[in-house]
């Protein structure tokens, strides 16, 4: 729709970076966002995601964030950047960067396929990622299902689009109204920990709520009371109501705090459900130990007899 988009260049099928001389073979386009287009490409036999944009500065700001997050030893928060370079398309120079290609599925599609049971677990994982980001002094900003991926191989939640990542205390660089604290009239757009946790809570509600209902209630004015109402009336969200409502009202000091509270609820619920099964398996365990000790005894006797 946006008319700025045509200015995002289409990558040629094959190209070579001007400075680092790495050559890429483009396989297909993965997606287009506000800041640029992401392609899947092969470079030296490795698959990479390559992002190119109309405004080089915007892209370089993203790289700046990605690199600063990677300075710590905490992998798995951001995709690793493998190359930053320029390429020339039709005589015009564009900046691009290449990063590791994460094979996975967008968060909302994953939940749709696997069921809403996964939502609390994925949120708990996501909170761990956010905590690391926050510890480095960054706020993710544009948190939404489209910017979160669940990897195929190990079911890990990964943040993928870093265009909204903002230094703590600054104005959030990029947001989506549906998940934006200010649009819900619950605060401003200054990047702080609570901003991300607010978006996360809205996301949890949206992922768990019936899509039709979410769509129809979108016409109502955006107020946190609407979200609280949905939480109260949803079977899958109700157990997590305290955590979610706290997040919506900015009551958590850190992502870790919210994470451990949600984790405690998941544990409690699992134990509650499985109480009976747990005692069954304990019985089996005792039985197993008995057999083992008999075998051990037999072995000892045999050994003694041989002497």
């Amino acid at each position: 729709m946006s008319s700025n988009k045509p200015t995002i260049p289409d990558l040629p099928l094959q190209f070579c970076g001007k400075w680092n001389q790495k050559s890429y073979r483009v396989l297909r386009e993965l997606g287009r966002g506000a800041n640029g287009a992401v392609y899947l490409a092969a470079q030296g036999g490795v698959r990479r995601a390559v992002k190119v944009g109309a405004e080089g500065m915007d892209l370089l700001m993203e790289v700046n964030v990605l690199k600063s997050v990677q300075q710590g030893r905490d992998a798995r928060v951001a995709p690793l950047v493998s190359d930053v370079d320029d390429l020339v398309i039709n005589g015009k120079t564009f900046t691009f960067y290449a990063m590791e290609y994460l094979e996975g599925e967008q968060l909302d599609r994953y939940v749709k396929r696997m069921g809403t049971d996964w939502v609390p677990i994925l949120m708990i994982q996501l909170l761990a990622r956010l905590e690391i980001l926050h510890r480095h002094g960054w706020v993710f900003g544009d948190l939404k299902p489209e910017n979160v991926m669940v990897t195929h191989a190990d079911k890990q939640v990964r943040l993928i689009d870093f265009g909204g990542v903002t230094k703590m205390g600054n104005a959030v660089r990029q947001f989506t109204e549906e998940y934006d604290r200010a649009a819900w009239q619950a605060g401003d757009r200054r990047a702080d920990i609570a901003y991300d946790l607010f978006s996360l809570a809205v996301m949890a509600v949206r992922l768990s709520a019936d899509p039709e209902m979410w769509k129809s209630r979108r016409q109502e004015p955006r107020q946190t009371s609407l979200l609280c109402d949905i939480i109260r009336n949803s079977d899958s969200l109700y157990p997590y109501r305290v955590s979610l409502v706290k997040a919506l009202h900015g009551k958590y000091a850190s992502a870790g705090e919210m994470r451990s509270e949600m984790l405690a609820i998941v544990r409690e619920r699992t134990i509650g459900h499985r109480g009976k099964q747990a005692s069954d398996s304990a019985g089996k365990l005792v039985g197993g130990l008995f057999v083992a000790s008999l075998l051990l005894l037999a072995g000892t006797l045999y050994y003694a007899w041989m002497m």
């Binding site: 405004e55 080089g56 370089l60 700046n64 104005a171 660089r173 757009r189």
Partner: protein, 251 residues
């Protein structure tokens, strides 16, 4: 580098201008005086029309700014995004100019991408801290009527965005065509907009869209610009701001 003031005019319109000086010429004039002109086209369905889109693009290009064409519900988000990107761009140009003085003509081209990543971090930080003055110029000609509630929402929302910045920010809101002149100041320079403000009250609905003249008059709201006496009387007294000293408009 001294603290800078970034100045922008943001035009919100839904069609072609049809009165007075060409808006492209007006945007050129604004840019000449250190003011960037961004344009947002608001459409209800379908397309803007080739003519309308062309004009919007040309205004933004001449004004050194950016443009986008969106539906009313995307307006709030677009306002924030365009403003931030245009700021980045302006600062980038200035930084580039400084680099050229140090490094010679090819400037940024001789910097490796890794070095430019560091420049980008600096540009980002400068954008956050610099002063920002934005005049929102809202087309209130007949066809815009149904979109004005979205515009109102966007104005309030933009005020939240501005408040969230570290640097000082101010905004003013004008509508065009005005009652007597080409433009009416609806909200004078402020750093906070009350949601209650009604943009729709007391509007003159007419078929005239004097985008060009409105841009020229909006330039007068920035007090760093030397004005002919007639315009300066009209606009200066609307400001309670008194730090009469001209702010430097380049770094």
């Amino acid at each position: 580098m001294k603290e800078a003031t970034l100045r922008q005019i943001l035009v919100v319109t839904d069609g072609c201008s049809n009165a007075g000086i060409s808006p492209v010429a007006a945007a050129t004039l604004a840019r000449e005086q250190g003011i960037t002109v961004n344009v947002i086209g608001v459409i209800e369905k379908g397309d803007m029309g080739e003519q309308g889109e062309k004009e919007i693009r040309e205004i933004a290009n001449a004004g050194g700014g950016l443009y986008d064409i969106v539906y009313p519900q995307q307006l709030a988000q677009t306002v924030q995004m365009l403003t931030r990107k245009a700021m980045t761009r302006t600062i980038h140009h200035v930084v580039n100019k400084e680099l050229k003085e140090i490094l010679g003509d090819s400037a940024i081209d001789v910097l490796s991408p890794e070095k430019r990543v560091q420049v980008a971090g600096m540009v980002d930080e400068l954008g956050e801290r610099s002063r920002l003055d934005v005049v929102m110029l809202v087309d209130t000609s007949g066809s815009m009527k149904s979109k004005l509630s979205a515009v109102q929402q966007a104005i309030h929302d933009f005020s939240i965005s501005l408040r969230s910045r570290s640097g000082q920010s101010r905004m003013a809101v004008c509508s065009f065509p005005g009652k007597q002149k080409h433009l009416d100041v609806r909200i004078p320079w402020t750093d906070q907009v009350e949601q209650a403000h009604q943009l729709t009250s007391g509007l003159t609905m007419s078929g005239i869209t004097p985008t060009g003249p409105a841009i020229v008059e909006a330039i007068a709201l920035f007090e760093h610009v030397q004005l002919p006496a007639s315009l300066s009387e009209r606009f200066r007294n609307e400001q309670e701001e008194d730090d009469g000293s001209l702010r430097d408009h380049v770094f």
